[in-house]
Amino acid sequence: MSLVTRLTGPVVIDIENITKDYVMGEEVVHALRGVTLKIHRNEYIAIMGPSGSGKSTLMNMLGCLDTPTSGRYEFNSKSVAEMDDDELAAVRNREIGFVFQTFNLLPRSTSLRNVELPLIYAGIEPGRRMERATQVLTDVGLGDRIHHKPNELSGGQRQRVAIARALVNGPSIILADEPTGNLDSKTGEEIMDLLERLYERGNTIILVTHERDIAAHARRTVHLRDGLIEMDHAGFIPELDLPIAEMTST
């Protein structure tokens, strides 16, 4: 029940009626029960929902970390549902930039080496790797921290390194899973400002969160409940979203 959708560009993600079942012991869990969703280039979308709503499952699906049990999933008009592990890895490498709640940086590598990693997997030669990684790190405001290791950086700086790493291959979407979850509110705001800037520069951002303040940055909000899309509307409408957000914020 899409209310308003800001049509910004060609469709990047086209999901139709996807389901995902897990077998847990004797029981089959229906994590997604038929989700249909279209995401266009240069959208800023928040996916919200309480735990158990299928939010994480949908995120894994969108991020090509997992394939649906049934349904159609096209990423840039290419069907993802039948891809094998290596093809999925290639899509993740080139098309998707992951930003994790826990940053997931390699602890013993410098910022530069962390940001270089997706470029190595993309087969970019060392000289261009270094150049590109340095440039992206400078873009996120860490030009003077490129030789620091994660334990020499603050939480906000670590998340910036992670964002630089997500950006470095010029992906079609940035998939941020609770990007401010491990940060204090001030640093969290800084990270959200950075994402806002990236959005304004033309990036597509998918935010997975249960925090309404964070979701409020998005231009479109999708609510999930029990494996189904409950609501999908433009912007963040306090009257509409607050009660739900209230329920979901734990």
């Binding site: 994790f100 390699l106 990693l117 190595i120 997997y121 790493r165």
Partner: protein, 416 residues
């Protein structure tokens, strides 16, 4: 391809960083491989040394000499067929030499008779027991590797006249004349005085196989005069072209049949042997020593490999989240597989290298302490142990690396 190379170099860097950051663990794990490689390398060295020792001992026989004997140089089941053969007589040598001279284009050069007996030799208060006393002619020098350090071999005149002269081996000389020059001294053999005219060069002995170090050679005529009774005799024949040893053997067989006067239908009642025959008897022994030794020491390397496998499994477990992250960033299964294979291989190579250094030092030490033990450290062995290290690494890393590459990215990312 380029991508593969980048991933490869990345994997080496990760492996190096991993070893540095887990120094104690890496060292302890590598210790298993170090010990394994030391064991295997030392055993390889010993086997190599034994082999060289055998060959050296064998070289005393000469590879261009045929031996006419009563018994063949190989184990026989039907010993009764050989026991009643006529003895080989020293006079055959002369007959054979006449025949060789009469044969145009003969592949045989000369036949030399030898008789031997175990005797003790005395000089002053010193005595050496069980000396291999050999009676032969001055031509003997042509068929053997004998080489006098001091003095000379007895000459033709002494040979024909049966003079009481003797050439002694290095060890005999050493025992009888600890502080004197043996030349022209008279030693006592079986109650007879013999003048020492030469001392043979030291040849070294191995496993008590043939060595001229504990022998004494005298003219056959003199030998027959004093010890004729029950000595063993044989005839050795020098071959002209050792690449045609089989032809020479056939020729010699023909000549010996004539000497013995055998009609065509009768089987030979003598044996003709060469170094090769002896070798083929000894080779299985040598090989079983090698196989058993390398198998046992290989087990210690195997234990080391299991240690590496174990630690790689631990490493995979510990870094599950990192593997998940790498997969999210686009690492393929192959990339992850390669990364952990290289980690285990790097560990094994390091262990192998350290082990090799230790093994080399040990060989050097053993070589200094026991010069008689033939130890041989070769480039081939170095290469082999490095290759073995690499294979150990690949072998022990494969199972954990495979597990890592198969991890589900979603589960791996969620792993705490």
């Amino acid at each position: 391809m380029k991508r593969f190379l980048y991933e490869l170099s990345e994997s080496w860097k990760i492996a190096a960083a991993q070893m540095r950051s887990n120094l104690t663990r890496s060292t302890l794990t590598a210790l298993g491989v170090i010990i394994g490689i030391i064991a295997v390398t030392l055993m390889g060295t010993a086997v190599n040394g034994i082999s060289i020792g055998f060959d050296k001992s064998m070289a005393v026989l000469g590879d261009d000499v045929l031996y006419v004997t009563q018994w063949p140089w190989k184990p026989v089941d039907d010993w009764w067929n050989y026991r009643d053969r006529k003895k080989i007589k020293t006079e055959y040598a002369e007959t054979l030499n006449r025949m060789i001279a009469a044969t145009p284009n003969s592949n045989l050069v000369i036949a030399v008779p030898t008789s031997n007996f175990m005797r003790s030799i005395k000089y002053g208060g010193n005595q050496v027991n069980n000396v291999f006393v050999l009676g032969t002619t001055s031509d003997f020098i042509v068929t053997s590797t004998i080489d006098c350090t001091s003095g000379r071999f007895f000459n033709e005149l002494e040979s024909r006249g049966g003079a009481n002269v003797v050439v002694i081996g290095y060890d005999v000389a050493d025992a009888l004349f600890p502080s004197e020059n043996p030349i022209d001294k008279s030693v006592l053999i079986n109650g007879q005085l013999f003048k020492v005219v030469g001392v043979n060069t030291r040849q070294g002995t191995f496993l008590g196989l043939f060595s001229w170090d504990s022998m004494a050679a005298m003219p056959l005529a003199a030998f027959n005069k004093y010890f004729s009774a029950k000595s063993d005799s044989d005839v050795r024949v020098k071959v002209k072209d050792k690449t045609r040893l089989a032809d020479a053997k056939d020729e010699l067989t023909g000549l010996m049949r004539r000497v013995r006067g055998l009609p065509p239908e009768k089987k030979e009642d003598f044996s003709i042997n060469e170094q090769q025959a002896f070798k083929s008897t000894l080779d299985p022994v040598k090989n079983s020593i090698a196989i058993a030794g390398l198998f046992i020491t290989g087990l210690s390397l195997f234990v080391g490999a299991i240690g590496i496998m174990n630690i790689t499994f631990v490493s995979v477990k510990e870094r599950t989240k990192e593997i998940g992250t790498r997969k999210a960033l686009g690492a393929r299964r192959r990339t992850i597989l390669l990364q952990f294979l290289i980690e285990s291989t790097a560990l094994c190579l390091l262990g192998g290298f350290i082990g090799l250094v230790f093994a080399y030092l040990m060989c050097f030490g053993i070589g200094k302490a026991f010069p008689s033990f033939p130890i041989h450290f070769s480039v081939g062995l170095v290469l082999l142990s490095m290759i073995v290290s690499i294979f150990t690494g690949l072998f022990s890393g494969f199972a954990p690396a495979w597990t890592a590459s198969r991890l589900d990215p979603v589960a791996a990312l969620r792993y705490e």
